[in-house]
Symmetry: C2
Subunit: 394 residues, 2 copies
Amino acid sequence: MPTPTGVGSDELRRVNLRAILQTVHTHGPTTRAVLTKQLGLNRSTIGGLTGELQSLGLVTEQTAVVGGRGRPSHLVVPCEDNVVVAVDVGVDRIAVALVGLGGQVLAGRNRGHQRGEHDVDHVVESVAQMVEETLAASSHSRCLGIGCAVPGAVRASDGLVRFAPNLGWYDEPFTELLAERLQRPVSTGNDANLGVLAEHVRGAAVGFSEAVYLSASVGIGGGFLVGGRPLTGVSGYAGEVGHMQVDSLGPTCRCGAVGCWETKVGENVLLRHAGRLPGGGPPAVAEVIEAARASDSRARTAVEEVAEWTGIGIRAIVNLFNPEVVVLGGCLAQVWRAAEPAVLDSFERSSLLSPRADTLIRPAGLGDDSPLLGAAELAFAPVLDRPQAVSRAG
Amino acid sequence: MPTPTGVGSDELRRVNLRAILQTVHTHGPTTRAVLTKQLGLNRSTIGGLTGELQSLGLVTEQTAVVGGRGRPSHLVVPCEDNVVVAVDVGVDRIAVALVGLGGQVLAGRNRGHQRGEHDVDHVVESVAQMVEETLAASSHSRCLGIGCAVPGAVRASDGLVRFAPNLGWYDEPFTELLAERLQRPVSTGNDANLGVLAEHVRGAAVGFSEAVYLSASVGIGGGFLVGGRPLTGVSGYAGEVGHMQVDSLGPTCRCGAVGCWETKVGENVLLRHAGRLPGGGPPAVAEVIEAARASDSRARTAVEEVAEWTGIGIRAIVNLFNPEVVVLGGCLAQVWRAAEPAVLDSFERSSLLSPRADTLIRPAGLGDDSPLLGAAELAFAPVLDRPQAVSRAG
């Protein structure tokens, strides 16, 4: 018999270090006893591995008495001195967060774009300043990288933003520019793709391997997990849900086509239906929803209208993907909370009952921070994958 | 260091037998020399494995001189005495084929449904008789199973047809009924899911791991490969492309909703637009296309109209999946061949250029037989996966 390609001891060590680091990063402080059981390794092996992670500065060990009796077990704690800076470039604002290994948000700041500031050089400079301020204000010793979420299609190979119509970006080398400006590693992903990742790790999609995250602000983003893996498509552009034509008589979309889903659903659509000025973002949407509750009939009609189109789009996606869970973010979560029956009514306006019976619909577990926290996960990914390669510097 | 979970020698043998059998099934007769190279095993190991497959009756070995010089190499040939019966239950007709290991179609028959014969007991009886006739007329010694394609959502766990609106089936235990009637193993899948599988193995999607198969007859079916694996969703119902709402003012669909894609695209839609009676199937569609070529302006408008809606649906799907290839079957292939520019015109009516640039659109490589040949692959799958478990009987 031939020998199959072997797993060498170096590779095995990497895989085991990774398993431990991912466990404590995802689930928080974990006893060696639990790690031993979970990983199916023996106690002394676990001790050797956690010792190595400790010497790499990635975890600390504390002595803890667990369960009140029995001998104390070492508690393996992710070391928050290792941080990443997560960035969410929205249409209205830039959000930045300092996130420690283990997923804790340690600090954050938001800044609105000025009018016309979507110019990529402006955005790169704003982001760079916010990242620098965030790191300067922090006492954490090692920055592992910068992760960015953008509302557009990002080329997987190099982080080029291929198109982000709501920022007016086409083929912008945002990632490269920011990495040069900061002299730090930068990774960029589509906001909704990062949203589904974060919701899967820490939010409303934990435990589901067939999951959809849909989030609307000005446009609509979609992120998908298929068999537990992110749906990327061949170049990383998959998940563009906003440009399904749903209404042949609908308005012309920024993309040039007519009646796209995102011309029927989103913050500004809702605001316009309610007779208000567009551009107010989530607070303005919340005001309309409050007015609808307080019997403002125009506001109520606007909410119901957007809820109906929300359900129509979700129906298409559920029929295509047969997911376990659809997680709603941004304006879709606001509309869902305000008008769940209206969303369900149009969602269920079809006799294709089966995928629907399988599917939970729920608002994001991480509020509006799913893309931001997904960007943090993107920045942590290289170290989580290869703990030994962590740089000693910061 | 701990020992990782080992691959035992039995399992290793199964994996290697599988690799050889799948290679010859997919690529046809293959020399031991090529197998040796491709599988990275040594010559004597390959000899032992092909010997075992021979004793299982799954391959034969022939002596061949390859390339004109050098010593002769044994040619490993899939043994066509092993057959499956593939069944495609369409809305208009039932197609049955006898397919040998290696993928050769050895015999086939078609039968139209009588009006009202969509009743599941009728269909089971028709299929059973066609299968029995096919096997009775064949001299092949071992039937490995029956694979069926149906135009509906099939529950992965037991082959229950959860809904097939164009047959009027809801929760029909078609698979169980047919297996009981024939006293043979029966597997059933969605026709388009099987279509993409067949196109991936032997058709227009060979070599593409991000692939879409879209086929229209009365309804539209969609089958998807994501990362080389079939998109199933949590229960096997994924890929229902026909019920995306594309036209808010469109006609009411069989599913109960309004303006679904399949109310705008399909055989009967085209026939009605052209002023003809629905129900004539592909030959009637071919007549309309021929009339359009011969300057029948009503026919031409009908073809252009369906071509436009075809492009609108493909655009949504390409934006969602960012595939390498979209393979068109049935009426969509006919329309594509007749009016490719009109399809592309509406497909490209949007500035989301990137996924499009990645995507080939082409007609099915297997004509209208993709679902039928995919059903054959479904029936071969258990033996291809576990050659040693092949039953000695037939």
